[in-house]
Amino acid sequence: MEQILANGLYLGAQYALIALGLTLIFSLMNVLNFAHGQMYVFGGFVTYTVVAQLGLPFIVGLIASAVVLAVMGALIEKFLFRPVIRRSKRDESTMLLAAGIAFFLDAVILLLFGEKQRGVPKVVDGVFNWDMRLIMPYDRILIAALAVALIVGFILFMQYSRTGRAMRALAQDRVAAQLMGVDVDRYSMIGFALGAMLAGLVGGLLVTITGINLGMGGPTSVKAFLMIMIGGAGVISGAIAGGFILGMMESVGLTLLAAYGDVTYLVIFVTLMIFLAIRPQGLMGKPWG
């Protein structure tokens, strides 16, 4: 049981961090960023290049991922989403744009980084073993701790910084925020950059453990959408809750249902369908959006 809980918490921490960026972009701009998974993959490859190819320390790779993805996010918002949102009131316009960006990034990743699975050496060696009841490699503990620290840092930033407050105001009521003097374009761009940066950071963190490959983008986006649907789309606390709930469900399911084959995600999807039929806005979302 201790092992199941530890696996769930570890998975939950990384999932929550992935979902945070997605929900931030959704709350600020009402955009379902289908390219979020590809941004995660891009971040992983940037860390891989800096650490494995250039031989620089892991922390440099992580910072490089954050910076590259933040710049990429800002440019995507400024030159792609902003004009489309200005010209079209239809939600599907931004959805199509996001899907197009996902395909584009897939192609760019293939061209720049190739088709192979990539990984970087372990950041910390050794395995924590508590009497065979709980086994957890130290690098996973470190990555989970870093993920939790980033989540806490993100919450504090959103809660207490001027930029965070402006973005929260924007998320609550775009028109009212504008009337109160919030520069909507600027904070939308910062928000998108922050969301993309979070995706890149998770990619950079996990490349040390799971490695990274071209095909991980799509499934990562799907899982991120699952999490924000569980927690409530556009709600930061909901994304965190959704991440930890999905991580725990996966860990419990994979252990207890192993004898029945690969039914864990089948059970998760059925549970989610029933849950959404009862509470379509998710755990912490509001029915009116």
């Binding site: 092992q3 570890y10 190739g114 088709e115 192979k116 990984g119 252990t255 192993a258 029945y260």
Partner: protein, 395 residues
Amino acid sequence: MKRRFFLATTGLSLALAVAASTAAWAENAKLKIGFVGVTSGPAAAWGISNQRSMEARAAWLNELGGVQIGDTTYDIEIVPFDDQKDPKRAIAGMEKMAQDGIHYVVGPNVDDGAAAVRPVAEQNGIMYFPYAFPKELYVAPASNAILGMVANYQSGPAIYKYLMENKGVKKVAFIAGNESDPLSQRDSGAAAARELGLEVVSDTVTYQMDTTDFTPVLLPVIQTAPDLLVLSGVSPANAPQLIRSARELGYTGLISTETAQDAAVLAEGAGELANGFISVGGASTPELASDTMKEFVQRYTDMFGEYNDESNTKVYALEYIIETLKANPAAIDNVEEFKTTMDAFEAPNPFMVGDAKLTYVGTTSFGQKRQVSVPLVVNEFKDGKFETLFVAQVD
């Protein structure tokens, strides 16, 4: 003087123009060979190594002046199609090949794609070389598919037997991705293990192909304490993660797979934890690789920046097509001629040292020769590279 100079330069120009146009007319005919396989998404590495092997070898042959088949010299042109691992796309790809008048296609890479394209290939007179193991593709009345590698039901028993005799393996566990290829490979592997007298302690645990943390997946498998953990049909992307998670969970037994892997990917993803990992490879180990193979690896690396060890096997399909056509030029647009030639076909294997031959095999497994003969090289990963554990032949 001026007039003479004018005449001379005009004459020279005319001669050069005529020579250039004659050279253009003398350009080799094109022989189009298709590739239908997966070059995008999680399994892209399988198809890309195929396509690049074909392109690297074709460029090399063209550079040498082309390939003479009968009285005609051809430049080889590779026509690729990404089926995205989707059977519907694979059918579309094979239809495209038929429309382009192509009779020889390498791929698809997976079971369902290979099964889906069978009617299109048979109706349009296309011979195809899948990297998929279902026997019905190769057993009569099927006759247009030729297995491009060694199947797991051929390599698995050889590996298990070797490990039983040399490493004292008694208990074996299987884990597979939740897709048709890995699942069918797990089932046939478990059946072969039981037949050899091994105790199968776990063969129900599966994982999603997009799993990012294998610790919870592997936990129940490791608890059964196998001597050998078989990663059935594992993709190069998942292999390092599975190995790493198993070792981190304290597993000290043997780990093997019947699929081809890439040493660089294992080294990056699992490091020294991958030491001792057993997989199936091709003919590039120093003991087996000929100078041609070494040059192929170099050319591939020059062309694409990095070699893929999976190409050790995937270099062969194009070679078989070309050499069989050389043996019977009438097969160039008639696959029935190709089939007739296959039974007695034999040519030197350029990629291996010694007097190795290219021949078609498969009679034992399929009742007819519908498999290329590539060496069954079983490798052990050690400190960043593969070392040959043993070599065997199918049939």
